[in-house]
């Protein structure tokens, strides 16, 4: 659970506006994700200095510059290990991790699997545009079969990864899918994801208006169906979530697929962190303890 402090002056969206204006193309889906994150932070009233935004490399990974929180722009695909190190050093911080489908599911795919397995208390938002945008339009791990891109000029012969099924299988304790074109719904999902104690995985359709002519706002709009509109859907039922995750085509479910709250996050499971974060802790060692393990090493 993020630390919520009653602030004397309530925070507004303007307080989360970054000092740099986004360099995304006009109409990019990433604008909607940025706005939804800012709105969710306003709802949660988390002070700016208690939030860190961590990213890798890609168009969407420029995100930390565009939001007024602490920010870390890290290596391609490595945002999750960096965020894990940060969280374990100071687990009182709210840590948001942002990036694209190439960063998170391609080069960072292995890190993603293990960060989910460890249940690190992070909110990970993949701004999924099904293309490599920053390098000007090559296939990505979520590009559809047959899709023509600059690196698949004869059509993509590989099938896409299903990020939701993958997250469920890897043990993520919060799994959701949003759409940049559904602001209110996305804001709610981000708020729930931040509030979830454990690894929150959010795959967000964030159309690339420059390089992906297949998966556009117009393509998604009639297809996305909110899980929340089905009163019978039970987000604590893992098998039901697995089944829903395989739906793709005329109907694409968005919303919270799955959440479980009975597992400790990594910082909760780590005994040495039970008295508080490592940050600010004294490094003093009792001389008797020091003597005992020096003797043990001899």
């Amino acid at each position: 659970m993020a630390t919520i402090i009653e602030s004397p002056k309530s925070l507004t969206q303007a307080d989360f506006k970054g000092r740099v204006d986004p360099d995304w193309c006009p109409g990019c889906g990433d604008f909607g994700v940025l706005a939804a994150v800012q709105k969710a932070l306003v709802e949660l009233q988390i002070p700016n200095h208690q939030i860190v935004t961590v990213s890798g490399i890609g168009c969407s990974s420029n995100f930390p510059g565009f939001i007024e929180t602490y920010g870390m722009h890290t290596l391609h695909g490595r945002s999750l290990p960096v965020a894990t190190g940060l969280k374990m050093a100071n687990h009182e911080l709210t840590v948001l991790v942002t990036g694209g489908d190439g960063d998170g599911l391609g080069i960072g795919g292995n890190h993603l699997t293990h960060t989910m397995r460890r249940n690190v208390d992070l909110t990970y938002i993949i701004m999924d545009n099904q293309i490599y945008g920053l390098t000007t339009g090559q296939t990505s791990p979520t590009s559809r079969l047959g899709m023509k891109t600059k690196s698949t000029p004869h059509g993509n012969i590989e099938g896409p990864i299903n990020p939701i099924t993958m997250a469920l299988a890897a043990g993520a304790t919060f799994v959701a899918r949003g759409f940049s074109g559904e602001q209110k719904h996305l804001t709610e999902l981000i708020r729930l994801a931040i509030q979830h104690k454990g690894f929150s995985f959010l795959d967000v359709f964030s159309p690339c208006v420059t390089y992906n002519k297949d998966n556009t706002f117009q393509w998604f709009r009639p297809r996305v169906k909110k899980l929340e509109d089905d009163p019978a859907y039970d987000a604590t039922d893992w098998l039901a979530a697995m089944e829903k995750s395989t739906l793709w085509g005329e109907e694409i479910p968005i919303g919270r697929f799955y959440e479980r709250t009975d597992l400790p996050s990594l910082d909760q499971a780590e005994p040495v962190l039970k008295d508080g974060p490592m940050v600010g802790r004294s490094a003093h060692i009792d001389p008797a303890v020091a003597q005992s393990f020096i003797e043990e090493l001899m």
Partner: protein, 364 residues
């Protein structure tokens, strides 16, 4: 033979295919992405495999697999991606697998920027991976050489069973020039050491592991002997009006182009200036440098990195002549005017009766 106008990045791929390359495993990165894109378009047309890997780590290991099977294969990237490949390059050098890697360099360290630098010199020429190994390194200075040296790279890789790196600054990858290709394509034969799935290759094992200390030492000595042979036979450099040069300018890649313009201008002003351009950065053309000391009074090394090539020049000359240094970094290229000013300064101090100087180490 017809000439075609194209980018250096595109020339590499066309040349590679003509050199018999039938496997390309890559990952997009600016300013090398056009290589991946051209390979994606062209490889299937000649029955070659193109695969966009999930990372550069994956790409270099796919190359390990293709090379083990005896297929000529290559990859391409830029600084940050090459850093990721270093582990695999060390393993390939250890397992004596041929492959070609194009490094279209950008600015660093870290994310740096996407403008041209030559700051990958150390990680490529000195070997950024672990262990006692070398990679052979070729440095083109024109789009024509992007094509020609790619062919040479595949030949050297097979001849010495070793990774070969084509080290070209971003200018080389991005600029367009006319280029001619060989009319006859190479059809490489299946190497006898490959794990080819044939009865004859049944006993072949590809490995870089030698647990016995004496066996590993013998393996490293054998690699050393191989590198020594490349030093004797494969070092290449271009001498440009050095026959009477008293001041020798040294640079590779785009810098060499600038240096030729500077030398021409200096000569017009009556200064005996020439250019020595290393084409192989490893093996380093040491003898080419030593030969020039008969007449040369001083050397000026110009780089788009903060003093990486200059170290090898000093080793080659071993104190015989003063070596001075000028650089621009961050993605900036030296202008011919600023290099010319350096040359004029050098001439004042070293030519026409100026007293002989000890070697000066000057960082600019």
């Amino acid at each position: 033979m017809s000439r075609h106008l194209m980018k250096g990045n595109e020339a590499i791929v066309k040349s590679a295919i003509l050199a018999g390359c039938r496997g390309f495993y890559g990952y997009p990165i600016t300013p090398a992405s056009e290589i991946t894109e051209a390979a994606a378009a062209l490889m299937p047309q000649v029955g070659g495999v193109f695969l966009q890997a999930e990372s550069e780590v994956a790409a270099i290991n796919m190359l390990y697999g293709a090379a083990s099977a005896g297929v000529r294969a290559m990859t391409a990237s830029s600084g940050p991606g090459i850093s990721l490949m270093q582990e695999g390059i060390s393993y390939m050098a250890g397992a004596e697998l041929p492959c070609v890697i194009a490094d279209i360099t950008r600015g660093g360290p870290g994310l740096g920027n996407i403008a041209s630098e030559q700051s990958d010199y150390h990680q490529v020429v000195k070997g950024g991976g672990h262990g006692n190994y070398r990679t052979l390194v070729l440095a083109p200075h024109s789009v024509q050489e992007m094509a020609d040296l790619t062919v040479l790279a595949f030949e050297l890789a097979d001849r010495y069973r070793n990774p070969v790196v084509l080290l070209a600054d971003g200018f080389m990858g991005q600029m367009m020039e006319p280029v001619e290709f060989p009319e006859v394509a190479t059809e490489p034969r299946l190497p006898r050491w490959a794990v080819a799935g044939t009865d004859a290759s049944r006993g072949n094992v590809i490995t870089s592991m030698h647990l016995d200390t004496d066996k590993l030492e013998a393996h490293v000595r054998q690699l050393e002997a191989k590198y020594f042979i490349t030093e004797q036979r494969e070092a290449r450099a271009e001498d440009w009006r050095t026959e009477d040069a008293e001041i020798v300018l040294v640079g590779y890649g785009i810098v060499a182009r600038i240096l030729k313009a500077v030398a021409a201008e200096a000569r017009a002003a009556g200064l005996p200036v020439g250019v020595l351009r290393p084409i192989t950065l490893y093996p380093f053309p040491t003898l080419h440098f030593q030969r020039l000391t008969a007449r040369a009074r001083a050397f000026l090394v110009v780089e788009m990195s903060n003093g990486q090539l200059v170290g090898d020049v000093r080793l080659a000359l071993n104190g015989a002549r003063p070596v001075e240094f000028f650089s621009r970094v961050g993605g900036n290229a030296p202008t011919h005017l600023e290099v010319l000013a350096e040359v004029q300064d050098l001439a004042r101090r070293h030519l026409a009766g100026a007293p002989a100087e000890e070697e000066l180490i000057v960082h600019v």
